[in-house]
């Protein structure tokens, strides 16, 4: 019987150079794996692989040296520990994320919850080519949002709350873009300089800022044979429903306009970024 490598690849089985051996990619969301899952992965790697796993560049786990004839057995064994195969090929790939505000003091958004939500919404969704989402919690950009076809970066939009302010001066120095100046007991915020990093909020001793947590989205990043960083086309997004609508519209645009095997950046280059921007702005303003 002929082996359907495309079907195997879709199911996360990556053909190795060693004949009939596969590196099995697992479904990991936002870089989190439970202890129960880890124990099961270890057991399967011992029993069916060669006793090691590989951590991929995009937060997945692969178990190499899985034998073709044991694939079903391996899937069943992994299932006992709540572990599923991941995906490869022309579809939505692993949603990557940093630890975000649930864990990290710098985080501005709950990256893991968002990663789970995007995974539920788009896992393995078929597209003309691979499509990568990456979510980073703040301007520190540990997760390198702009490397992705669609990158999401958490931010905080701020408004000074004069009544709570003690004029200590900490925020003016904490701000790295010189958006904050203090004169005559008043704080002025130059919104054109603010990058939504949230450092003023996080350093303020009296919580004298009204805050809106939201998203900065970049489009068309690619970091393989070609290297290009994703670009923003819309302002700061203040609510999650709007973010999801923009993700939906982006995938729809890609599905509609891309040639088979064409990454999003090249679709944007060919079709025109203005055309995409127009579409996305419609959703943003809608």
């Amino acid at each position: 019987m002929a082996v359907d490598y495309a079907a195997l690849k879709k199911g996360g089985f990556m053909r190795q150079k060693q004949k009939n051996n596969f590196s099995l990619r697992l479904r990991v969301v936002g870089g989190n794996v439970s202890a129960v899952q880890l124990a099961k992965i270890a057991e399967v790697a011992e029993k069916y692989g060669d006793g090691h796993v590989h951590l991929t560049s995009r937060q997945s786990v692969e178990i190499p040296f899985i034998k073709l004839e044991q694939i079903d057995e391996v899937k069943a064994a992994l299932g006992e520990g709540g572990v599923e195969p991941g995906v490869c090929g022309p579809r939505v790939r692993t949603i990557t994320a940093c630890q975000g505000e649930a864990i990290c003091p710098s985080g501005c958004i709950d990256t893991y919850s968002l990663a789970k939500e995007l995974d539920t919404r788009y896992f393995a969704k078929e597209l003309p080519h691979k499509f990568k989402f990456g979510i980073t919690g703040c301007q520190n950009n540990c997760l390198k949002a702009e490397e992705n076809d669609l990158g999401i970066k958490g931010g905080i939009k701020v408004k000074w709350r004069e009544s709570a302010c003690i004029g200590c001066g900490v925020c003016e120095k904490a701000c790295r873009t010189n958006a904050i100046t203090i004169a005559d007991g008043k704080i002025s915020l130059d919104e054109s300089k603010c990058n939504y990093c949230g450092r003023c909020v996080k350093s303020c001793p009296t919580e004298a800022w009204d805050t809106t947590h939201g998203y900065i989205v970049s489009f068309g990043g690619i970091f393989g044979n070609s290297i290009s960083k994703g670009e923003t086309v819309i302002p700061f997004i203040e609510d999650k429903e709007k973010l999801l609508a923009i993700c939906d519209a982006t995938l729809a645009f890609f599905a509609e306009n891309a040639k088979p095997g064409e990454r999003f950046k090249f679709t944007l280059d060919r079709v025109g970024r203005e055309k995409f921007a127009e579409k996305i702005l419609e959703v943003y303003n809608g």
Binding site: I166, C168, K173, A174, R176, G185
Partner: protein, 83 residues
């Protein structure tokens, strides 16, 4: 905004150390104080003044004022808050 009044009980100079010792030195100095006492922390411009105030806030202490010494250093006035 309403500026707070304070009287300094002790001071520490962290301009002679670099991150992460800057914060550690300030933290140790705060541990020496009683609840409610005021510490003046002298630090360099740049990374220390960007980050140390926030770290001290995250430890639960109350920041009252940041003074520009106009010589490339700043003095942070902190009120110790016990556990």
């Amino acid at each position: 905004m309403a500026e707070l009044e304070y009287q300094i009980d002790d001071s520490v100079d962290i301009t002679d150390v670099v991150c992460p010792t800057t914060f550690v030195k300030a933290k140790v100095a705060l541990e020496e104080l009683d609840d409610g006492q005021i510490l003046a922390v002298k630090m360099n411009d740049g990374e220390p003044v960007q980050n140390v105030p926030r770290s001290i806030k995250e430890e639960g202490h109350q920041i009252l004022k940041l003074l520009d010494n106009k010589d490339g250093t700043f003095t942070l006035i902190v009120k110790k808050v016990g556990d």
